[in-house]
Amino acid sequence: MSGFLQATVYGLLQGGLLALVAVGFSLVWGVMNVVNLAHGGFVILGAYVGWEMHEWFGLDPFLGMFVSAAVLFVFGYVLQRFLINLVINGPIFITLLLTFGLDLMIVQGMNLVFSADYRSIKTSYASNSLAFGSVRVPLGRLLAFALAVAITVLLVAVVNRTRTGLSILATGMDRGAARLMGIRARHVYALTFGIAAGLAGMAGAMIGTVGTFNPSAAASFTLMSFVVAVLGGLGNMYGALVGGLVIGLVQAWGGQYLPGTWVNALAFLVLIVVLIFRPTGLVGRAFYAARQEV
């Protein structure tokens, strides 16, 4: 029983972290119909920024992540405004190819600048854990989890309550109509992409604190984001959170009761089963699929 409880707690925490990684990916896909294959690269880049901040200025990663977010926001904004916007009207394959190329460049660039050495942002407390009977709750992961939930709630509030957020939503639903209403779609797209990259950067700093990273880890985060976004469903800001938590739990429970090497297969199996019964994902909305591309 304590094994089950421990697996559940750990799975939830791990799922929160996955959600934070995937939330930006889901946002960009939902609003702009861009599957950003460079997303994992953004995550790792954020981890490096957090690492540098910690190494050079002794900045705690839970503060350093705001620097990561800021740097990545600017990077994402510029990338979208001046590069991806050029092909945004093309078929999805073109943006897919473009972001795939970007990913190769970002990963190889990080290999050159930071080398392929494995790193971790060391703190005195992240590996400590709170003990509840026989169940341990690791502090670093708990903080990251709380952050993931807070960010998601904040994102929902921003999107639903602010003018900027509403313009993001409107552009995502019908770009033509949004333009007619005076929304500057280019700016809104760049803003969306910037926010997504910033969130990826934050997630990266967290990953760097509780785990290890090097440039080649980027691909696995892109893949995980893809799974989480599809599973949770697009068009709903809570989609990534739900998807992340489900994947985290499935992997933890699967690891507990099945041979440990089956966990990835199990995660994809759950994805397939969910898509059979709910093609739009667990909490996704159908109307996003039928939107007008103008």
Binding site: G3, A116, Y118, S129, A252, Q256, G260, L275, P279, Y288
Partner: protein, 409 residues
């Protein structure tokens, strides 16, 4: 929506195939052994992709060997000194590309090959080498499986996979007081790590330990929490990981998070890598690890001198402490050079005959091959992280420090 998702999946698969297909980067210079005063050797290396870190260390080892040999005038082939010319190609950490590159070298007439990094790449290469009548010295493919297929043209300078965890078990059995009773193995699920686990479990049973059921997790994962949760209730005295760096770091980190506290941790491959202690800091203290080579290894040779000399050369040239991946690469290159000199020829068949009879001391220890091409004559060293440094604690005759036990406080 569904068709779009499908299309996306298709494109991702297709693009990764394309990348695998055009993985080789850069053109090798066309040089040949005959008449040009150079001895051309081909080396496919994992310079990008998931094995980039180890691939670069391997390249450093090959490169240092080339410089050392050429600084002494080159390889003495039948009285004529020819310069060593190692040609590198990037296999992007993919076995199929590594194998293709061996074919490409063959097309250029290059018959002598130094292996890529890791068992998967080397295994793929070995089959091609055999077919083409080339000759390969393997620097980093330790899986015994490579040598169970009857190949005659692949020789490994390093100790086989079965020794990695077994040597840690032997060190603990010999040196740990109070002697632990039970051992749990946590293992990645790639062929190499599984062979490491099998060898370790066999040695543990032979030494009288209670061996718990091994727990496997996907190769390259950074989350081993399920395996740790499973063994936590069984309270093993020792946890041994058959892992690479990522999983090895994850075991130590997550064991602390989950409150798993055996008397000691041991891990193959990860602890001797400088990144291990750097990444984990204080948590790395007293973790045991097995290493193909340390700078306390006994032996000397004419090109590199002693292990200490080798360590100095790596530090001076590459500005980092030597890693055993450097050393095994240099040793593979050394074996090929010594065999070519002994054969007095650069022809693959003649060098092969010389290699199979090679029996020499070197900075890497004994280099000698059994009938399958493995080097069973060199013991592995067991190191322990003490004050952030990997110090040799076993075998005792080359120990730099006493083993601290129990390793976890």
């Amino acid at each position: 929506m569904r068709s779009r998702t499908l299309a996306v999946a298709v494109v991702i698969t297709a693009s990764s195939l394309v990348v695998a297909g055009c993985g080789s980067k850069g053109e090798a210079k066309s040089a040949n052994a005959a008449g040009s005063g150079t001895l051309a050797i081909g080396a496919s290396l994992s310079l990008t992709g998931s094995l980039a870190r180890e691939g670069v260390l391997t390249q450093e080892g090959y490169q240092l060997c080339q410089e050392k040999v050429n600084a002494k005038g080159g390889v003495d082939i039948g009285g004529t000194k020819v310069k060593l010319d190692i040609q590198y190609q990037d296999d992007t950490s993919k076995p199929d590309v590594a194998a293709q590159l061996v074919d490409q070298f063959n097309d250029k007439g290059i018959k002598l090959i130094l292996s890529s990094y890791g068992s998967a790449n080397t295994e793929a290469q070995a089959a091609v080498i055999e077919r083409n009548g080339q000759l390969m010295v393997d620097s980093a493919g330790a899986d015994n499986k490579i040598f169970s297929k009857g190949y005659k043209r692949t020789f490994a300078v390093l100790s086989p996979a079965t020794e990695y965890a077994a040597s840690i078990v032997k060190a603990i059995a010999e040196l740990a007081t109070p002697k632990p009773k039970s051992i749990a193995f946590l293992s990645a699920d790639d062929g190499f790590s599984k062979t490491v686990t099998e060898g370790g479990m066999k040695a543990a049973k032979a030494a009288g330990f209670t061996v718990l059921d091994p727990q496997y997790f996907p190769n390259g994962t950074s989350d081993v929490s399920s395996a740790l949760t499973k063994v936590k209730g069984q309270h093993p005295d020792v946890i041994i990981g058959s892992v690479h760096l990522v999983e090895g770091v994850a075991i130590i980190k997550q064991a602390k998070e989950l409150g798993v506290t055996p008397a000691g941790f041991g891990e193959s491959v990860a602890p001797p890598t400088p990144d291990f202690a750097k990444t984990l800091g204080a948590q790395a203290e007293n973790v045991l690890g097995s290493s193909q080579w340390t700078d306390a290894t006994k032996g000397t040779d004419k090109y590199f001198g002693t292990a200490k000399d080798y360590a100095k050369d790596i530090q001076a040239k590459y500005n980092h402490a030597p890693d055993y991946h450097n050393a095994e690469a240099s040793a593979a290159c050394l074996a090929l050079v010594l065999a070519a000199e002994k054969a007095g020829s650069s022809k693959a068949d003649a060098v092969r005959a010389a290699l199979s009879g090679l029996d020499t001391e070197s900075f890497f220890g004994t280099i000698k091959f059994d009938s399958t091409g493995q080097n069973l004559y060199k013991p592995m060293s067991v190191i322990q992280i003490q004050n952030g440094k990997a110090l040799t604690v076993w075998p005792t005759e080359s120990a730099e420090a006493k083993m601290i036990w129990p390793g976890t406080k």
